[in-house]
Amino acid sequence: MKNLLKMTVAVVIGAQLGLSGALAQNQELDVKALLKRIEELEQKVKVQDRKRELGDEAAAEKARTASTVSIGPGGLQVQSADSNFVMRVRGGLQADGRFFASDSVANDTFLMRRVRPILEGTVFGKFDYRLMADFASGVTQTTANNGSILDAYINARLLPGFQIQAGKFKEPVGLERLQSWRNLLFVERGFPTQLVPNRDTGVMLHGGFWNNALYYQAGVFNGTADGGSSDFDANDGDKDFAGRLFVQPFKQTGVEALRGLGFGVAGTIGDHAGTPRTYVSDGAQRFFTYLTGTGVQPNVVGNGNTWRVTPQGYYYWGPFGVSGEYVISSQELRQAGGGAGAGSRAKFENIAWQVAGSYFLTGENNSFEPVSPRKSFNLANGDWGAWEITGRVGALDVDNAAFPIFANPAQSATRASSWGVGVNWHLNRNVKLQFNYVNTDFEGGDANPAISQPEHLFLTRAQFAF
């Protein structure tokens, strides 16, 4: 019995020992399997994280290299990721009203003064291009000028101070002519603009230094009559040289009151043939015309050297701004037709000047460049946009020697002088309303009903430009 008991205890202990050994072995296997499983799961999590990371990198790369399309007050723009290629679609229109308060042979009228689509941009980072057409009322074509194509040029920005522009664009002469059409103080530009070239075809070197505190422009162009445009030299093979130097001496300084001061001088020189231009009032009434006709009738044409010189300047300080320019346009003419003075040659100097100023009642900083209202017009919020009052005086004086061989004193005035006031309401960066009253007095041309009495004119404009 004792032995049986011992044997039983031994068997039980032995069995227990064996069981616990097996258990330990099993536990070790479980831990290994568990660790392996954990490792596998850890790898899976890491792989998922990495895939997400790679996905994010790919998305960021795509965003970095993708072109962007944006639209805003500056128009529609498409731009490559590296900014080297840009295309902008812009444009604008001006719907005017022209109403004569005095008796006039001209009709009161609404008109589309400008309707201009613009495509512009940059290729390869340094080459700008611009195409601007005009489909407005009265845009006509001549033998020398496709009136619908206003700007068509490329500009190579080789260095900030050394750029080359070629094509058709504004000649660098008149101050107000060089101001953008969307930023004019008055509905119509003043008299000096009539004595300087408009757009011409040629090539120009230009560039600025010290953030354009000093800016130069010098170019060779076909040459065009006063106020005229050209994209083909229909009259002669001679070319005009045009140049302009403009400085803003305090632009880079801390003298706040003088930073908006700029002045310069511009001019052209060249030989011209062809028909000289007529001069018109703000109401588009011709007040001076050189004699023109066929056969035995007198006919005046360009006959050689033409030069223009125009000192110009502006000053902007806070909401106040004033600008002025003075133009002398000298041209050799010939009475090439029949009748009195046939074959006569003479050189005339016509002069125009103007001073124009404005003040923003709503406090915006005035500028030669477009001004953005502090607050866009929003009736619900009580925001009224920007309000600007304007004033201008000026005159155009035709050389008295032009009469009577080259111009008819009964039909053409020897001088027109005007003053005007206006209000500009900038509803936002894109929409502007203008209201002008302009009074123009004429000297001479008494037999011409258009100018035999002063012109009292109301001009209105609704402008949309982007």
Binding site: K46, F162, D238, K239, D240, I269, G270
Partner: protein, 337 residues
């Protein structure tokens, strides 16, 4: 004023301005390269700039651009103005010649050794102690092995890897293409994640701790070993692998437009000089120069290496068969999904 006089004056001013500009010009070169050559060309550019300054007196500033080799070639075709390209494989340069016509088709004949101044091969980087016991290609396709290569569609290293795996399987199976395909299919079945370039794959394996083995450039494996500290990784050189010959060339039309033809040519020729070869060897590329190779022999074990021409009939054929859209690689990936 007569146009002739104006033109003469204008030309004189233009030439004067250009002359002033020319004296102040700094020579710039853009080297568009593949992923893992960053460190190599950082060192090399410094050495070349000094060499060129001493030789010509001019200052040359070399900019680098890196990414997957195929992606970089695409960028040059799309307009990235590389003066020189130093890519992972000849096919990518061929693509630039063929699609953008920026250099002649026979560009590879212009410099020695098929315009490949240094070589490399495909090796394995495994974790400390080689826990999965990976010794050769066959070990990679065992179940449960996580392989990290890059994507052959975008990476040069990945295409060399694919071809190395295929070539190894062919050798083991007496040239049986079907068995080679089966082997490569198993290989890619074990890949948990694809990076677009070799450097990205290294990041996945080394920094993110994913996978059991990084299969890629020998130079990248040695660099990882050197940078990660002792003992974290080990390199396994397979008995048989591919001779990778990364090519270099001037992108003629770009260089001509930039006026950098002479300096671009000299830049690549300098790679073949003992100085250039020494820099390549220091950055773990196998030098061509016998003397320099002898000096660095300890770093580069002797392997049995096959060339792409021997096994695949050249890059054009290999690309068309294996890596073109709908090619063998795409078919394998489709089947593996």
């Amino acid at each position: 004023m007569k146009l002739k006089n104006i033109l003469i004056s204008t030309t004189a001013v233009f030439l004067a301005v250009n002359a002033l500009d020319a004296t102040a010009k700094e020579i710039k070169l853009l080297n568009v390269s593949y992923d893992p050559t960053r460190e190599l060309y950082q060192d090399y550019n410094t050495a070349f700039a000094k060499y060129w300054k001493d030789k010509s007196g001019d200052t040359v500033k070399i900019e680098q651009s890196h990414g997957g080799s195929g992606k970089q070639a695409r960028a040059v075709i799309d307009g990235l103005e590389a003066d020189v390209v130093t890519l992972a494989l000849a096919y990518d340069v061929d693509a630039i010649a063929e699609k953008a016509r920026l250099l002649p088709a026979d560009w590879q004949k212009r410099l020695p050794n098929n315009s490949s101044p240094y070589t490399s091969t495909i090796v394995f980087l495994v974790r400390k102690g080689n826990p999965k016991g990976i010794k050769d290609w066959d070990d990679l396709v065992k179940p449960g092995i996580g392989i990290i290569p890059a994507n052959p569609k975008t990476s040069g290293a990945a295409r060399w890897t694919y071809l190395a795996a295929w070539g190894n399987a062919l050798k083991k199976n007496g040239g049986d293409q079907a068995k080679a395909r089966e082997f490569v299919a198993k290989f890619y079945k074990n890949v948990p994640v694809f990076d677009t370039g070799a450097r990205g794959a290294t990041t996945t394996f080394v920094q993110r701790g994913i996978g059991d083995v990084l299969v890629g450039w020998e130079n990248e494996a040695i660099l990882s070993l050197a940078e990660s500290g002792k003992g974290e990784f080990e390199i396994v050189w397979p008995a048989f692998s591919i001779l990778a010959e990364p090519p270099v060339t001037v992108v003629d039309k770009n260089a001509k437009r930039h006026g950098t033809e002479a300096v671009a040519k000299a830049y690549l020729e300098y790679l073949y000089t003992p100085e250039g070869q020494e820099i390549a060897a220091k950055r773990h590329y196998r030098p061509r120069n016998a003397e320099v190779a002898k000096k660095y022999a300890a770093e580069f074990p002797k392997l049995e290496l096959f060339t792409i021409d021997e096994v695949f009939g050249g890059w054009q054929k290999a690309q068309k068969t294996h890596f073109s859209d709908g090619g063998v690689y795409d078919q394998i990936q489709q089947a593996n999904r």
